[in-house]
Amino acid sequence: MSAVSFDHVSRHFGEVKAVDGVSLDIPEGEFFAMLGPSGSGKTTCLRLIAGFERPTSGRISIFGEQVADLPPYKRHVNTVFQDYALFPHLNVIDNVAYGLMIAGQGRKARHAAAEQALEMVRLGGYGTRKPSELSGGQRQRVALARALVNKPRVLLLDEPLGALDLKLREQMQEELKGLQRQLGITFVFVTHDQGEALSMADRVAVFNEGRIIQVGAPEDIYFRPEVPFVADFVGSSNVLPAPLVARLTGTESPAAIRPERVRLAGEGPLKAVVTGLSFLGLSTRVTLDVEGTRMTALLPQDAARPTVGETVALAWAEGDLHLMRGGA
């Protein structure tokens, strides 16, 4: 049975179609990422699952139960908020134990459970502090413990790592992934960071303008984008326009090719002019002009470097040029 299922769900705010006919199925135990630029409807989708928004039309079910008319407090899902939303007047342990207190558990039992949850996020012994005395990363863990202590069947995470610095973010990514594997809970994770989505999720849904553009495993999204938007948004692929591709392959449709798969060769199907070089450490990024279309190639450090203004030929292995549908 799927943990979360959307059947042609729409949420309109007046004229704005925040979510526009989305259908999706998230199987139990999956780490599912919703990826998209801001305003693409991914957060609204998450809020529809949590119950903070009600769909304008369509059906939402959680473990087979229709939830469109259920208020948030009757759903077995918990949310980690983008701003953590810790209660400032309660200390850490009472924050974590809040859900259990509402459920009517005694003080001793709920504090024991909360302490255990805090240990799970490596904050054992922090119970007596106030949220204001914690760092951003620690608050994030408290928010996680506060959600997990209720043993939700689905955990919703709304850009939980957005406010952390890079190093902490990478560390938390691994921890979240580890926790999800260990607990086996379904995670629905909203992010605008493609690297985060690709590295953590079992499956990624790419959102744009209220619709799901493509759903698939990270490798599919990365190497086999179905439309130019996905190719461009997920890790900046080169998108070749349809007429150019028609000349190369005979098929009139846009195509994507990853910068790291583009080679500069003496012989090749495409001629390009080098317009810029930037040193990135592990590789060198070469910007190219192919008959007016901008392309980039990532050259390994040991490859011969062209000079700016030079005309080079581009080559790639069979299968690296990925044909897409037109349109969005």
């Binding site: 903070f52 948030p72 983008q82 939303a85 209660f87 007047h89 809040y98 506060r146 209720n150």
Partner: protein, 314 residues
């Protein structure tokens, strides 16, 4: 002389030199900036309060009417005579009731303003709250006297609705009742609540505006029904605002002497007692002792509020 020195000396006026001096000595600037407010607060404000406090430790000679400048607690003992103590109890009870009623009425209004009012409606709200503060206090009170009087609009409206038996039944009650609303304790209460209401709404609204929506959503997400969210999250977070508002309504009611004089019974409130003792009776020490009562009550009130954690969410 080099050209650089020339350009430096070129702008060497008095104000430039003064700015330079102040820039080099930031402490001097601080002292100059703080001197006027410290003088005001220290001498004029706290000084007169201290003089008042001092007066309350003197006593009056009831035969000659002269003040006896010797330290005594006799004046304070006089506060506890039944007649005077009644005044204190009456005033404190009125202040407490006014504060409670203001908080109960103000909370939903503040909630609406903080959470739901947008754009034009927000402006209408502020205008509605603030406009009564712009008009004269006395005009408002006399307007209320006309509303509440026996021949007033309220009686007229109730007669039209054939409900004046309800008003008559209420006025027949002891303590809160009277000849008409305008000469009853209830009338005093209504006008107090009306006059101090903005002072309760605005701090509560400010406190509620600082509560992010996500915090209320988080509470619901963790299983709390709206009532529980109110009790465990919204109310504790609004409490500093309620306490701030209640400081206004409570202390303003404790000190007011005009409203109970115009609307209400002939029984005195602390403010009226102070007014009469220092004016007609010339008993400055007792007036001072009466004036100390609200200060002590507010001190105790704030202490209890702090102990109960009212300021934890600040």
């Amino acid at each position: 002389m080099s050209a650089a020195t020339d350009t430096l000396t070129a702008r060497d006026g008095v104000s430039t030199r003064l700015s330079d001096t102040l820039w080099r000595r930031p402490k001097l600037l601080l002292v100059l900036l703080l001197l006027p407010p410290v003088l005001w607060l220290g001498i004029i404000y706290l000084g007169s309060l201290f003089a008042l406090l001092l007066q309350s430790f003197f006593s009056i000679d009831h035969f000659s009417g002269l003040i006896n400048y010797e330290f005594t607690l006799r004046t304070y003992a006089e506060l506890f005579t039944p007649a005077n103590f009644d005044i204190i109890v009456r005033t404190v009870t009125m202040a407490a009731c006014t504060t409670l009623a203001s908080a109960v009425i103000a909370f939903p209004i503040a909630c609406y303003a903080a959470r739901f009012a947008k754009g034009r409606w927000r402006a209408v709200f502020y205008l509605g709250i603030m406009m009564p503060l712009w008009s004269s206090y006395l005009v408002k009170i006399y307007a209320w006297k006309l509303i509440l009087a026996k021949e007033g609009i309220l009686t007229w409206a109730l007669e039209g609705l054939h409900l004046n038996w309800l008003l008559d039944a209420y006025l027949a009650l002891p303590v809160v009742g009277g000849n008409s609303l305008s000469v009853s304790t209830t009338g005093t209460f209504i006008v107090f609540v009306y006059v101090w209401m903005p002072f309760m709404i605005l701090p509560i609204q400010a406190a509620l505006e600082r509560v992010p929506v996500s915090m209320l959503e988080a509470s619901g997400d963790l299983g709390a029904r709206p009532g529980q969210t109110f009790r465990h999250v919204l109310f504790p977070l609004a409490l500093p605002g309620i306490v701030a508002g209640s400081i206004f309504t409570f202390s303003l009611t404790l000190g007011d002497y005009i409203i109970p004089q115009i609307i209400g019974t002939s029984r005195l409130f602390i403010g009226q007692a102070v007014y009469q003792h220092q004016g007609i009776a010339g008993n400055i020490p007792l007036a001072a002792a009466f004036a100390v009562v609200p200060i002590v009550i507010m001190g105790v009130y704030l202490y209890i509020a702090k102990r109960m954690g009212a300021f934890d969410a600040l």
